[in-house]
Symmetry: C2
Subunit: 340 residues, 2 copies
Amino acid sequence: MATPTTSHKPSPERIFGALNAFQGTAALKTAIELDIFTAIADGADQASSIAQRVSAAERGVRILCDYLTIQKFLTKSDGRYALTQESAIFLNRHSPAYMGTLANFLASDEAKRNFDALTETVKNGGTSVAQGDNTKPNDQIWVNFAKSMAPLAAVSAAFIADLASAKEGKACKVLDIAAGHGMFGITIAKQNPNAQITAADWAPVLAVAKENALAAGVADRFTLRPGSAFEADLGDGYDFVLLTNIFHHFDMPTCEKLMRRVHAALKPGGKAITLEFVPNEDRITPPTAAAFSMIMLAGTDSGDAYTLSEYERMFRNAGFAKTTLHPVPDMPQQVLLSEK
Amino acid sequence: MATPTTSHKPSPERIFGALNAFQGTAALKTAIELDIFTAIADGADQASSIAQRVSAAERGVRILCDYLTIQKFLTKSDGRYALTQESAIFLNRHSPAYMGTLANFLASDEAKRNFDALTETVKNGGTSVAQGDNTKPNDQIWVNFAKSMAPLAAVSAAFIADLASAKEGKACKVLDIAAGHGMFGITIAKQNPNAQITAADWAPVLAVAKENALAAGVADRFTLRPGSAFEADLGDGYDFVLLTNIFHHFDMPTCEKLMRRVHAALKPGGKAITLEFVPNEDRITPPTAAAFSMIMLAGTDSGDAYTLSEYERMFRNAGFAKTTLHPVPDMPQQVLLSEK
């Protein structure tokens, strides 16, 4: 039944806002591409000086910076722009926590194309434009992921390294499935000089991970297992298997299939460590984890953001004894720890 | 100078949110296209029954409705969806205030294309993809505007009719420039049986306005003046000239040129009534009016959301005695009243 439930004064302004929301993505992506935030960090603070620094027109920069101020990515006072604390930390290219590369993946042409076809996709119940079966290689997208998304991994990679007791320094074997940029395994290897990392992913993606392992000084303990996680020989005797942002691409039977392979690769007492968007059973909270389902609808045949009870059941069916939930502090993702 | 100015705990979640914001536009547009809100208004309240009603897949509808709940366009309780008050008023097709058609214009392929090219546009200082000189005809876009955007005009059209003292019923001549759907002039004609409306716009756009005038029963007092507002014979002796959402398309000299034509068309003591997005002098408040500049950057050569002082100066230069500002209640736009 349709029951109006809110009580504030009705206005179409939020509808207007949602229909215009795509502009916010474009504006932030453009500001990152032109490196507006770095220009301001470096001292340019008016439309004219910022425009000169980023080689753009003053009218364009003035309207863009005003818009970024309205969106709270800048402040403006007496015609002078300044960075917010968030922009200074995450959008200034000189900052160690720079995350501007995220735009290349989250707001890529492919991602936008998936959402341009959303009506057809909702009718179909699965993506109508992408290669939605992610058990098959799709190198261009996943190389882009590996090159773009590493900065977002820092906090959760440190959290996972703690769960793997990396700082204790015990000898251990870690398998990182769908390694991508490799930063989850690399973080463990940096903290634990006795950790051996095996990274599994498509070969062109592993080339990016290998570069990152070299840059981190852990390449001598970083082995590659190229190919499908469903078909390649993954090895065995692992203390930990990392499964970061992979299950959401598949339906439940496919997830269980992978979980069984993980179970076989772990040594007795070993642990599967899953990083995921895990919504509550209502599937509408917490908002970022729950909303992630929509990206899977738009881009996959049958992926989803699964709940804890769904993960518990799948891991149990695959032979795991127990699965526990560990929210990553200050991040929208959760970690699941599943014991063999 | 870059000075961090906010004090809350820094997190990349808002950056993540902005880079994903385009999904919100796509989701609402899809829900409108599939008529999800009307299906719920008509009694379907679970993913399965809504899916059946709108001929879409249950997985697609379930994920879409959860997402719309997260975005506060629906509520969900025990797996059953309901409309919010706003959705019941503005997104149920049976509601007299239905605004679903807005999606066709605000989130059109043309609008998205303009924003896909935003980086190049900021560099250029003007649109890099659209036909950005709106003094030339661009029928496909403006016919789409006329067909899609009438529902948004209701509140401001009633406000303008009051400013034109329509209910007093005095004989008066009204010229509606860039009439579009024609609802501003039509609203005056409905309230004042002695008002004669002249609608000016490109001929294919006026066909839409004429249909609306017929439907409103005022076609006998609704005359068309097809062609460019800068070149066509507009007539003279008008009590009121309506200028709704037109000046923002042009640079200031072009606005003044049109204002001079309006001045010539008004009778002594006549008034120009302008409906616009008028930001404060800081150009960042109020947010919706100020953010409108970005749409003009993306889609025009040199349009803008002008401030009150800019409008005052332009109208004065065009010969007007005085310009006053009148915010439209509960709407993001403002009305300017300029006396000859």
